[in-house]
């Protein structure tokens, strides 16, 4: 799992590559939480899932945890670029109801 993050104003844009599961979810969680703790003005999170080719409930749990943190700051968590199999899991879990899906980061940024 490769994770890159970039701050754009009060938004943290996180790009992930690989598989988000029981092994890699803690890495994602630690990196995002560290950014959120270091930069308290960050109030929104955009997760680019374009290069995530596998996700299961462990990965979804880690995303949901970040959603809760960002909500506590009054912000939003938006998902972009999900591959079909990832999108199916998001729909099955109901997470797509609380975290809107966008085709790319620019469209998501416009929504904030």
């Amino acid at each position: 799992m490769e994770i890159h993050h970039q701050r754009r104003g009060t938004t943290l844009l996180v790009t992930m590559k690989g598989e988000l599961d029981l092994l890699t979810a803690p890495i994602f969680r630690a990196q995002v939480d560290q950014e959120l703790e270091t930069f308290e003005r960050l109030s929104s999170l955009i997760l680019d899932l374009g290069k995530v080719d596998f996700i299961d409930s462990s990965g979804l749990g880690a995303i949901l945890g970040r959603y809760k943190r960002i909500r506590q700051r009054g912000g939003k968590l938006l998902l972009v670029n999900a591959q079909p199999q990832v999108q199916k899991i998001l729909e099955l879990s109901g997470l797509d109801k609380i975290m809107p899906l966008f085709p790319n980061a620019e469209r998501a940024l416009e929504h904030l």
């Binding site: 598989e19 599961d21 029981l22 092994l23 979810a25 969680r29 596998f54 299961d56 409930s57 462990s58 979804l60 749990g61 880690a62 949901l64 945890g65 199999q85 899991i89 099955l92 879990s93």
Partner: protein, 147 residues
């Protein structure tokens, strides 16, 4: 009941590092049958959930052995996952959506996904006597009772 055309069995410690290994192995083995790529993805998710549950729950904070068996039949894949861990007190409760004994960032959706993606899921477990998870996926997904 026809005999299995092929089978495999492997053992590994209940470590998170082995979850991806297990799901990939099962999906590759399953590809001997005429599953679609979407169905192979579904088998990967179901296996990942089953193995993750074992890693998280079966041996508490310790590590134990997980045995994974797969059988190929002309019309189906059967997957069996066995541990000798602490077992499940109430299997019916464990099958309820959103039920989890580890609430911190666990969604309790693992068995929901398995139910969605596999045609048969059965769990045998008793406290202190381990757990056996049995999953079946049919080729082109006809239901076992023809419904």
């Amino acid at each position: 009941m026809s005999a299995a055309q092929n089978h495999m069995r492997m053992e590994f410690p209940s470590l998170p590092e082995n979850v991806a290994f297990a799901r990939t192995t099962v999906a590759v083995f399953a590809s001997q049958l005429d599953f679609t790529l979407d169905e192979l993805d579904e088998i990967k998710v179901a296996t990942s959930e089953a193995v993750s549950n074992t890693v998280i729950h079966a041996y508490g904070k310790g590590t134990g052995t997980v045995t994974l068996c797969c059988q190929i039949f002309p019309d189906r894949l059967e997957v069996e996952l066995v541990d000798e861990g602490i077992g499940i007190e109430d299997v019916d409760k464990a099958l309820e959506p959103a039920y989890t004994t580890v609430p911190e960032e666990r969604m309790g959706l693992g068995l929901v996904f398995i139910n969605e993606y596999m045609d048969v899921l059965s769990i045998e477990s008793k406290p202190g006597q381990g757990t056996k998870v049995h999953m079946v996926k049919y080729v082109k997904a006809p239901k076992p009772d023809g419904v």
